[in-house]
Assembly symmetry: C2
Homo-oligomer: 327 residues x 2
């Protein structure tokens, strides 16, 4: 949550002039994104009526070679009627430009707020929006290898090591290594797949009332099972109080909303308990890595890996029953 780079207004005005969006009126650095700097930009608009955009500067983690994929995906989904922000192309048609050696993209601004405590109606709308994306990617011509899959979690946890993991929580090493073994023996194959979001937490969803107005931050998107994306979303939305409380009403609404648009096959439904445990492992591994390698007082707030350890234990105990009923 930060703006990592100071961008002089004079440089920004020049940049905006490379797009057919009118001239710069206002620019506010916004506290969103952990890998990027973002500004909320107001311009006079190409029609003089005023317009707003998000300017993203790619600071870390994201490779410029991945930008045609990430930005092309936004355009593809927007063209298919999904509520995602279009990429604004510059006057030469380019998806991104370079300023002071860093890649920047101008992105459509979408209304809506990110909510903390979803209602069932909101969860239903999220499920529907997710399923529509899974339909819309059918003819998306690009793909990106999933680097944060089972092999990636295993590598991260092993790089952390049992000793360091134990400094986070004494139970974490056994839980993580045990779970990785179990997942390796149970991970499904051959499920319907395509390019999926993989990080659809509430802060990546904009809502107006009960309806999704925007899905944002596709920078973890990769080729994976649709049902895994649903499992990630389920793990991200259906718990409160750090994973300690399961929201049955939100779970049922999310799964019903998804299936109203894209009914799960029986194979997918049977795989959900395993996929949900994998989704938890994905965030346990990255959060443990961040926890051990981020100074306690750094700009980025560390997230507790144990939040997802609790979710994992819930899925291990109740997943079969839960997804058999709800999905």
């Amino acid at each position: 949550m930060a703006v990592y780079t100071h961008l002089a207004a004079e440089r920004l005005a020049e940049l905006i002039d490379a797009y057919d969006v009118g001239s710069l009126v206002s620019a506010k650095g916004i506290a969103e994104g952990v890998s990027n700097s973002n500004w909320l930009i107001e311009t006079t608009g190409s029609d003089g009526q005023g317009a707003r955009f998000i300017l993203t500067m790619y600071e870390r983690r994201i490779e410029t070679s991945d930008l045609p994929f990430f930005l092309g995906l936004l355009d593809h989904l927007a063209a298919h009627g999904c509520p995602v922000p279009r990429t604004i192309h510059d006057r030469d048609g380019a998806l991104w430009r370079t300023i002071d050696g860093k890649a920047v993209a101008l992105i459509e601004y979408l209304p809506g707020v990110s909510i903390d405590h979803p209602t069932p109606a909101q969860a239903r709308s999220v499920g529907q929006a997710l399923a529509r994306i899974h339909h819309a990617v059918a003819d998306f011509p690009q793909s990106r290898t999933q680097t944060l899959g089972l092999a990636g979690w295993d590598r991260t946890i092993n790089d952390c090591g049992a000793e360091a993991l134990a400094t986070i929580d004494p139970e974490l090493p056994d839980l993580a290594f045990g779970e990785l073994s179990w997942l390796a023996g149970h991970w499904p194959g051959g499920l319907p797949h395509g390019v999926v979001h993989c990080d659809l937490f509430p802060d990546n969803v904009l809502m107006l009332g009960d309806k999704v107005s925007g899905l944002i931050d596709f920078y973890f998107a990769a080729s994976d099972f649709f049902a895994y994306d649903l499992a990630v979303t389920h793990a991200a939305w259906c718990f409160e109080r750090g994973g300690a409380t399961f929201r049955t009403d939100v779970s049922e609404a999310l799964l019903a909303g998804y299936q109203a648009e894209r009914p799960l096959s029986s194979v997918e439904r049977d795989a959900l308990p395993v996929l949900a445990r994998g989704a938890c492992m994905r965030f346990i591994s990255s959060r443990a890595d961040d926890w051990l390698n981020t100074p306690a007082d750094a700009l980025v707030t560390r997230k507790d890996p144990m939040d997802f350890a609790r979710r994992l234990q819930f899925y291990a105990a109740h997943g079969d029953e839960l997804f058999a009923q709800g999905a």
Copy 2:
């Protein structure tokens, strides 16, 4: 530069409902202000046409008992045609509300960007806007004691101590203690005074092209000499490269712009070289204090006190000649 508090969208929507501004459409935490958290808020507007506001949450340094002064000052200046953001009153007429134990105010959103490298035309506009404020406060009925005056600088520098100051720069202790003695013997009395901004750096001025569109962040405003406020603004605008380069063209334009609206008396003009050295001492003292008491990796970027030591040395060497010609 940070958002210190997470404010759930649900709480924010309730808060916005206390104002006659329509309902919440969007909220983005913005990276502005060092003592406050700020959000750029979009609502449906009281007329359904959409509207934008800045929501400020007072986190540190600012006492709630000072809010009638700060927020009343904005209203007074806006009513007198100065380009400052009005305070939006809630449905009961209150200037601020309390949320989760913290005071928050909804403030008018003004267009414009903060520039890094002013042109003379921009500096002229800043001088004019400052002088208009000095006229407009004539009938402002409130006042606030200047706590960051000569006595305050002296206390801060003595609290830091010579030993600690030397860790910033070996020359700083002699410079600071010597200057405080000199200022104590030369500080003027009886100059025209009123409530002044006292912190009009480029990042507190919004500009559209060559014109000031907004003066913001009045949270250091206090009763002091008008000419001191002009001296602070001069020290803040007329140097580049950390105080190493003096911009004669910007200086002349700033002083001319100011005097086009409010000509200085000969007594004020004669006092400017001393006031400018005082303005430098004000920022040397607060920056030294921050430097010594802020962890190097904290959220707030530390500013180098030596930037203003260089400015001070410039004013000591050239102030008499400079202000005799330019003012």
